[in-house]
Amino acid sequence: MKKIIALLLALSMIFALAACTSGGGTEPATDGGESTEGGETAVKDTLTIAHKQDMVDKDPINGSTTNATIKIKANVYETLIERTVPESEMKPLLAESWEWNDDYTELTVHIKSGVKTHNGGDLTAEDCLFSLQKISESSNNSVTEKMDLAKSYAVDDTTFVIVMEETYMPVIANLSYPTAVMFDKEGYEEANGDWNAMDIGTGAFQWGDWVSGDHVTLEKFDEYHVAGMPAISEVNFKVIPEDGNRYIEVETGHADIAYEITGVDIDSAESNPDVVLFREFTNDNSYLSFNQREEIFQDVRVRKALAMAMDLQSAWSVCMDGVGRPPVGLLPDNITDSIAKSDSPWHVDYPMYAYNVEEAKKLLAEAGYPDGFSCRYNTGDNSVRMAYGEFFKNAFEKIGVTVELISLDGATNNQKLKVEHDFDIYTWGIAATNGDIDYANRYFWSKDNTNRNIMGYSDPEMDQLIEDAAREGDPAKRSELNAKVQLKALEDVAIIPIYQQEDVHCYVNGLEGFVNGAYQSPLLKYVHF
């Protein structure tokens, strides 16, 4: 019997040991928890953020551009140009100013002097050209599209010229794209391009500790190029994928900020005096569209009929739990040149084809489907889009179209939609991701090779409009071309936007300076208590 007791003891020792050794790696998380309680006397200068997903990698140019990753990297690496939100203006960040030559083929960039990198270097024009070169070699090289980097040159330490292959206006927006970051050449070469070993950015924060899947910490960069920033000395991103839990973390004081809280938590947050809500519309719409490689959906009457069967207002109120809004146009109104802007000379109301079941039925009959038809509808595995799917399934049935819902996981769905084109109806998102409307236009460009044109929309006239718009240097003319693209897409029912997304974050009362940056990445350098 003694033996057994000894054995059990030994066993529990093993477990305890295992427990202890693994317990070691967990202390940083504890710090985060304490900081919220212990900050009464001095001004609190640590920040704990409940973050939806882990960062995928530290590579800012060739690495992941998932939303969650950018939200972190944007505080460590910076771009030359910054796009403000929600105005969508292009403002200097690392660059002080920039100017075009007359025929829009050369872009001269003056960078701020005295910008330090985390590894102690100075950011020079040389570094910037090197950074652009590395970007052009990466898989995210759309940023340097149409740039002729071989011919580009540095004028002096703070000035360089980007030579273009041809006129291409979206280049300014591209320079604000989160992968268009500037870094120290020397540091890069020293570490042989191993991003996990490098900290060569210019951001207000530098890399701290990263326990994959659990948390990422950032530390204050003391020599940040804007004086007095940041106020926070340490940021801890706690990874909490479970939607409801992030809000609970803030509510229970275990985090200062919760990113991406869901609609269901908005009410609770609003009624809680200790919690402040942050809401801002994003520049992307979710849309529903059809496989226009199939004969049935090539008929614009069919697309129109289905559009008219969709009650977007009701759908929004049922599916979105108060987040976002029904779409205001083909593209959100916070994109430059969007005709959804109410002051746009080309403004049209959305939806262009209002909800009307009878009319929809008539159109279907005209198109040769008096009794409707049946088709598949890929919603993906996003719960909101699934809810919309369930709602529209019911709606389409009212005009005799029976729908089989298919909610595949992300990867399989991607495969079906983008590679195999094996779908009938689907939902996806459309956005001017880099801030330039050209990015959104290309969803309708038949020559697109980046899987944006999932629906297989193809119209030579449209292609021409899109290409012309990208090449047009004159802002007014460009706006007109962009408006034509949007009008045509709406008239043709190329896609049916179904809702506009919204960023909903919340933070504890007492936290100040919480602003959103581009790419839905809040800029933590402004945050203070």
Binding site: V264, S383, A387, S407
Partner: protein
């Protein structure tokens, strides 16, 4: 001919005896009743349910349980009671078919292994390999490979528990095979197939039935867990695990969307477990012999 009738009588008395033992177990009887109720509900779902499972009502979303909607309504304004009632079809069907799949696949493999020593090693070592992967993981991989759909979910759950059935069947067949009447049947020239079908299968049934009942409980839980993780059924089918998963984000305001499907799963699984326990206990004296 005479032999056949005697067999039948024996069989009859065995069922009677088991039932007699089973009746004494109050819990098991309650479990059986609950199970029967759920089966009836599943069969007559469209008649019993006050609404269709996909009847949306944008004017009545997220209503807490009340007289009109005893289990409340969900975010799309669908009656949760009706969805639970319709959902019983999926849960029971998944449980039943998944177990059927594993019984058939496992049964064939087990019988082959037990009967043909040459195959035994190959089959059982392969089963060992599969059993080295936890069932849930295996099911996840299979669903990932097949794509998520109701049928694939059942297939994944069924296939992932096949090795266990193969073992039970093999063990039980091996012990039955040694019995004299089987030796006798072989001695008088019964073909292998004949011996298996006529003698071995009926006599190996007892442990199989117990295992099947308990496995069905497990299959329902596994399937709902997979649905919960998003590897399961396509919306708007009201499978309980999927309902729970969808209701999860409303856990703060609409507790009924998570609590009720969970309770439904638990009650059915509980019933299956007590019935399984009851069956095992009442078959026990025979198993021991």
């Amino acid at each position: 001919m005479a032999k056949k009738t005697r067999d039948k009588n024996q069989h009859h008395s065995m069922v009677g005896e088991v039932w007699h033992q089973f009746k004494k177990n109050r819990n098991a009887v309650i479990g059986l009743i609950v199970l029967c109720i759920f089966i009836i509900i599943a069969v007559f779902a469209p008649m019993i349910a006050p609404y269709g499972y996909d009847d949306q009502d944008a004017a009545h979303t997220k209503i807490a349980p009340c007289r009109e909607y005893p289990f409340g309504t969900d975010n799309l304004g669908r009656d949760v009671l009706s969805r639970i009632i319709h959902g019983s079809r999926y849960s029971l069907m998944i449980g039943f078919l998944a177990v059927t799949i594993s019984i058939i696949a496992g049964g064939i493999l087990g019988v082959l292994a037990a009967f043909y020593p040459k195959l035994d090693n190959i089959i059982m070592r392969t089963m060992d390999l599969f059993m080295a992967i936890p069932q849930m993981l295996l099911a996840m991989c299979i669903v990932a490979a097949l794509g998520s759909s109701l049928f694939n979910l059942m297939l994944a759950v069924g296939l992932s528990s096949t090795p266990q059935f193969a073992r039970v069947v093999r063990a039980s067949v091996l012990s039955t095979r040694g019995q004299e009447y089987v030796e006798a049947a072989r001695a008088i020239g019964g073909s292998d197939f004949n011996v298996i079908v006529r003698h071995i299968i009926p006599n190996s049934l007892a442990p199989l039935i117990v295992q099947a009942t308990l496995s069905m409980a497990r299959a329902i839980i596994s399937a709902s867990a997979l649905s919960f993780l998003g590897f399961g059924i396509q919306a708007p089918k009201p499978e309980w695990g999927a309902m729970l998963s969808a209701g999860r984000k409303y856990i703060r305001q609409c507790w009924w969307l998570t609590v009720i499907p969970g309770l439904a799963i638990m009650v059915v699984v509980y019933a299956l477990n007590v019935v399984g326990d009851g069956l095992r206990d009442s078959l026990d004296p025979r198993l021991k012999k």
